[in-house]
């Protein structure tokens, strides 16, 4: 009887802890990568998009080890996500039928869903209509000037920088 009670108490404590301690994060950048380790040049596990929900497993400085709803585990930098503690509620399949985790999170700020409000593409288009003298041609060209992880890794290695660094 004593052992059963103790097991019951322990089970209850663990379940309550799991329910209240689970923390969900939402991807807040347009695209990013889930990585195999807590550093930028670790291999990519999968690609993530804005609004995707992730369950926190552990933190290591500015890196979070997380799990996707599909069960993939990997690391993501803190600057790519924002916490959404309430999203444990959206982790259940029934809830996801009604609203995805990302919808819940983004709706909490009143933006994010396609066509939702905020300073968005619609507002930029409105601005362009009212200010025809302001050209966005070079802004669009500039947005294409980008550096992928592999180019950056080569550049850092060549220059003996970052984790491939030289003398101090």
């Amino acid at each position: 009887m004593k052992n059963k009670t103790a097991a019951f108490i322990l089970g209850g404590v663990l379940l309550a802890a799991a329910l209240f301690a689970a923390e969900t994060y939402i991807v807040k950048v347009r695209t990013t990568a889930l990585r195999s380790g807590p550093k930028f040049f670790a291999s990519q596990v999968l690609s993530l998009n804005a609004g995707e929900a992730l369950l926190l497993l552990k933190k290591e400085e500015d890196w979070l080890q997380v799990k996707t709803p599909a069960g993939k585990v990997g690391w993501i930098h803190l600057s790519a996500v924002e916490p959404r503690k309430v999203d444990i509620l959206a982790w259940d399949t029934t809830a996801r039928k009604q609203a995805t985790g990302s919808e819940v999170a983004l709706a909490a700020k009143g933006f994010g869903r396609p066509g939702a409000k905020g300073f968005n593409k619609n507002v930029e288009d409105g601005y362009k209509t009212r200010n025809k003298n302001i050209s966005f041609v070079w802004v669009d060209k500039m947005s294409l000037l980008s550096v992928n992880r592999s180019q950056l890794e080569t550049f850092l290695k060549q220059g003996r920088l970052g984790e491939f660094g030289g003398a101090r």
Partner: protein, 297 residues
């Protein structure tokens, strides 16, 4: 029944109640997660937004794009793919080791065909440097220091902090007034007006008056931090400021000289900070060589 057993049973009963309540709350909350209620929650939350910190990453991106367009309406682009590619590599290197390596649309760097010494950072990671500024750089460390200073402005959201509070509160009210997914033409017109006001506040600080002096000193601190974390010698920044201080008379009143604190003041603070560091990355001949390849003549 012993007192210990009674206590254990009491605790077990308590925990069962907590669990039952949590599960029922969970079920209730799931019922509550309807599209309609989410919209309502969104509306309530957006009405509650009132500071620059409540601007979302996506909104910052779109504000940044339009600020960048305003900058580019005043300055000509230096359309040199090789040079722009190199500047982007150095910029991405320091951004990767900054406090904000990930940003909604990524960082983008562009060289402006202007003789004045200037660098500008629009929100959302749109960063500009003039050819005049590049001419002052003698190696990759100096260029990295300038770009890290600009990444610092973006990471610390200095551009967004220059938006007038009253304007932001008004804009959030407009955005959050309706729960519908799309703006009506009338709403769009009002929100676009608010957006123009926001752009005016940022461009006024960034291009005309310059940021608050403390933001510039903060960006210098961040430049030393990010540069060092990347593996660049932080002396790149002190050397650059020393060079500006020496030639201050020539460019006074324009570009960085107009919008930034005096190079001598910045230099004193930066040297003090570097002096307090225990170990510093050293300059490397390899980086000097590749810098020179891009700056022949």
């Amino acid at each position: 029944m012993s007192a210990r057993r009674a206590a254990a049973l009491f605790l077990a009963a308590g925990l069962s109640s907590v669990l039952a309540v949590s599960c029922s709350l969970l079920q209730e909350s799931q019922k509550y997660l309807t599209k309609e209620n989410i919209d309502k929650a969104g509306k309530a939350a957006s009405v509650a937004r009132n500071t620059f910190a409540d601007i979302t990453e996506e909104e910052e991106h779109y504000i940044g794009r339009s600020v960048a367009a305003l900058i580019l309406s005043r300055y000509k682009v230096y359309d040199n793919p090789q040079l722009n590619s190199y500047v982007n590599l150095v910029g991405h290197a320091v951004a990767a080791y900054s406090d904000r390596p990930e940003i909604y649309g990524g960082y983008h760097f562009l060289v402006l065909d202007e003789p004045e010494v200037n660098a500008l950072a629009a929100p959302g990671g749109f960063i500009f440097v003039t050819r005049g500024l590049l001419r002052e750089c003698r190696d990759e460390e100096m260029l990295a220091a300038v770009l890290a200073h600009e990444v610092g402005h973006v990471a610390a959201k200095h551009g967004l902090q220059s938006i007038k509070k009253s304007r932001l509160v008004e804009a959030f009210k407009l955005i959050g007034r309706e729960a519908a997914a799309k703006y009506t033409p009338e709403e769009l017109s009002r929100v676009t007006e608010a957006f123009e006001g926001v752009l005016g506040d940022i461009a006024g600080s960034l291009i005309e008056r310059g940021y608050d002096r403390r933001y510039e000193y903060d960006a210098d601190v961040l430049s030393v931090k990010y540069g060092t974390a990347t593996g660049y010698s932080p002396e790149g920044l002190s050397d650059f400021l020393e060079k500006l201080a020496a030639g201050e008379g020539e460019g006074r009143g324009v570009g960085w000289f107009k919008t930034h604190p005096a190079p001598k003041d910045r230099l004193a603070r930066v040297e003090k900070r570097i002096g307090g560091m225990k170990t510093l990355p050293l300059r490397d001949e390899i980086r000097l060589k590749r810098f020179r390849q891009h700056f022949k003549g």
